[in-house]
Point group: C2
Chain length 493, copies 2
């Protein structure tokens, strides 16, 4: 008895726990992976929030539940969750499942360590290093640095913080008050994380300058040059251009070589947000889309998008060889990064991060890469492009599908014009009526669970669909189904 | 044929993939969970980096590997990784495995969705809300807000960003140049993430003021009050106090009620970094340690530490009911947060985050909570305290163990004084020789793989061990073993 507590052995029974886990694994396999990828099953089992709350009984209580009740919980969570592994899930910039990556994720969870010191993560410290250097080699860098981050938004924040530290190292100690007002440049169609980063890091949204894009969504270099001059003439100090390779909506690629010329001319840090489009680097056929990326100072790239590693897997890659990442972020905590260890302490990479505990995100990518080889990954990228071409050509054969633009990548943005609106482009309420079409089709597909695809307005463009083709598990039939289904759901509108 | 590619069906075979996953699951069970928790097996299989690199063959190549090779990879990764689930892993502020939480993690991985909209994460949007409100209730708040973040460091950043936005909302648009120089207050023994946050968010390290602590590591309120006055007299604007509940090294609890009085008096945001100590809220016996926490504006709490949910699981909790979190962080991206959806759009909580894609971190905690009940979680916390008492009393019975302080929490900080140094406290090189003891014992235990515990210097204190007792799976024998093993490894020094 200690402190009024009996100390009669562990509170936790491993055999019982492993038994539960094993049974739950079968449920997960069945519900999330077998049914979850079966085209004869629904993509989602839609429930209105009130109803779903009632069905799930989410409330947490004083007492625990039984083995069987808990297994039922696992089943229910799977049942009412969206099946992002399903071949007809086209709603986000991720989709599908890779089983080797998934194995890597299970193993990561079972090993549960933190990616900060060689001492507690020996395998993963070495593995992260290898994966980062392979990715850097694809970018075109023989040397450099980098780190896995919890998402592309945070990778983009790293770029901003390093760029300003390189320009004004005193910012780390003295803050922004000690340096002149900064200016950031990015395109009008760049991802909103650039804005979130600017606010979060104290730079402020008004100091983000939005460069014009052409019809397809690519940054116009001449406007970049002008905006830089203008900001400078207004007393700000330009320090960072964040170009995008693969924009979120249109999948557009900014012209990196021209942007690099401008960055060089003005002495600015060039960041490439290739969170979405970075994976084209695997493809000999399509890597021309990121020509010039090797001239960047830093790159964000999310394998959890096109490469199917699963969330979260994002890398921030850096050309720098002067240990900038560590100098900018280090705090030298003695309880983790003791200076009298018995191994090479440069392997304790945790101080490069702005996090402390850091999830292991490299294993899933590494195991998948080992399984497929660089070649297998390239093949996936090439197929996604080919299926995109197929979809676009099929769309052209049908009435009612109108492309927003010729796709550069695997995003296909289009309007569906229902029969009642065809030929009515000149009528007064055409735009208004067209804007109502996508939301209705979307609601219908969700309620029926037949497929999922997203839509959005964009500047003067009213609501249009953004179809994304990235999963190696889809077949032509899935794309034919997609077109048929849009028609079926929208023909009466 | 499209684009020179054959479109002959999917590149991915589900049956084959599921077969691999199933076999790998058995390997994971065996290596990471059975052997990984067996006291007769090693905690770590130490290899020097060069040797480990050679054994693992981490290189990624053009071609892929076979089923059997890949299974061997899974086995090797597990073999050479540190067994953080092992009853003799005492090295970090996390340890041990909870099988229900682990099931939740596997399910999370298999479902692979992002926590931003009800549309793609219906179950998890509702679940996150329930879990956050239960945690808030433990803090003592009937209302409020909150979000799961990728780690406590980032949760602490949220506190800083919200505090400054509440004080100076123009910072979001105009940046720090538009507002006066800010000042942050935290104790000398607070976690380094407060410093990292201050640099990252553009405030700068020199604007973090370190408040003195008493012998045990608790913030001294009088010094806080003085430091605030001093900063103000030097032209800075105090806006945030970050108190710590459960410091990283000593496990000290800052006196929250007195700190709250001072924050009220000066009109400052009171944040409590309870990343480590928050879990005492479950315990009727020990929650007095955080008395006054309900007066805070925000709280960071990491269930991935004491509650064994596994990395990553951190919450940022907020007393605010004015939607501050969303107002501060929103970017209103139309492609995710359409304003013409067919369901209650307040359920699309993603814009509260500074991330875009956000891993689902609530399910593991929810499932474990369902399994154990609030009561079961409380019992675990109470046991950890009781075992800590046991260890401390056993230490007192042995020669050579010298406590740095009487523990407030489950951190036991101590020096091991080897026989050759006992009674030599007054000799000139005592401190120097003592500082060498912990590193040598640590190296020996790592090379033998018998257990893992951390050490560090702290201010004028030379290297001492920090033993952490948090896992419900340990028994008295593990603690007796711990003491015996320290003696065995250090008696000749
Ligand atoms: C008191 C305290 N706060 C914050 C953190 C950071 O949490 P994380 O490692 O999840 O970033 C830690 C980590 O040990 C901590 O001890
Ligand atoms: C171009 C681009 N950059 C960055 C991001 C953000 O990545 P994450 O969701 O991992 O934060 C996205 C997400 O869609 C994106 O499309």
């Amino acid at each position: 008895l200690q402190n009024g507590e009996h100390l009669n052995g562990p509170l936790l029974d491993h055999a019982e726990g492993q038994h539960f886990l094993t049974e739950a694994f079968q449920v997960i396999l069945e519900e999330a992976l077998c049914k979850g990828t079966d085209v004869d099953e629904k993509v989602c089992e839609w429930r209105d929030p009130e109803e779903l709350r009632a069905v799930l009984d989410l409330e947490l209580r004083e007492g625990g539940e039984t083995h069987d009740q808990l297994l039922q919980r696992v089943r229910d969570v799977a049942k009412y969750s969206v099946k992002t592994n399903h071949p007809r899930f086209f709603n986000q910039l991720f989709a599908g499942v890779d089983y080797h990556a998934l194995t890597g994720r299970f193993l990561t969870e079972a090993l549960n360590t933190s990616q900060y010191t060689y001492e507690v993560a020996p395998v993963f410290v070495l593995m992260e290093d290898v994966v980062l250097s392979k990715l850097r080699a694809l970018v075109g860098w023989a040397e450099g640095d980098g780190i896995f981050c919890p998402g592309g938004s945070i990778s983009n924040m790293y770029a901003m913080n390093l760029a300003r530290y390189r320009a004004f190292p005193q910012v780390k100690l003295q803050g922004l008050w000690a340096i002149p007002r900064l200016a950031i440049f990015t395109s009008q169609e760049s991802h909103y994380s650039v804005c979130k980063a600017a606010s979060f890091q104290g730079i402020g949204l008004e100091n983000v300058h939005f460069v014009k894009v052409d019809e397809r969504g690519c940054m116009i270099p001449e406007d970049l040059d002008e905006k830089i001059e203008l900001a400078r003439s207004q007393g700000a100090v330009p320090f960072l251009v964040s170009a995008t390779s693969g924009t979120t909506i249109q999948g557009a690629f900014d012209p990196l070589d021209s942007i690099a010329d401008i960055c060089e001319k003005h002495g600015l840090w060039m960041h490439v947000d290739a969170a979405w489009g970075g994976s084209v680097l695997f493809s000999k056929k399509h890597r021309h889309l990121v020509k010039g990326i090797e001239r960047a100072d830093s790159v964000t790239w999310n394998p959890h998008k096109m490469l199917l590693t699963g969330l979260q897997c994002s890398v921030f890659l850096l050309k720098d060889t002067t240990n900038l990442l560590k100098r900018c972020h280090c705090a030298n905590a003695t309880y983790l990064f003791q200076q009298d260890k018995f191994y090479d302490m440069s392997l304790d990479t945790g101080d490069k991060s702005v996090q402390c505990g850091r999830k292991v995100d490299c294993l899933k990518l590494w195991l998948m890469w080992k399984a497929l080889g660089t070649q297998g990954l390239a093949e996936r990228v090439d197929k996604a492009f080919a299926y995109t071409r197929y979809l676009v050509e099929e769309m052209r054969k049908r009435e009612g599908f109108q492309l927003v633009n010729e796709p550069q990548f695997v995003n296909v943005c289009f309007w569906f014009i229902p029969p009642s609106l065809r030929g009515m482009e000149d009528s007064e309420d055409y735009r208004h009526r067209l804007s109502k079409v996508a939301p209705v089709i979307k609601e219908r597909m969700m309620r029926q669970g037949s497929m999922m695809v997203g839509y959005q307005p964009q500047k003067e463009r009213v609501n249009f669909f953004r179809m994304v083709i990235l999963s190696p598990q889809i077949a032509r039939q899935d794309l034919d189904f997609f077109l048929d289904e849009i028609e079926r759901l929208g023909n009466d509108l």
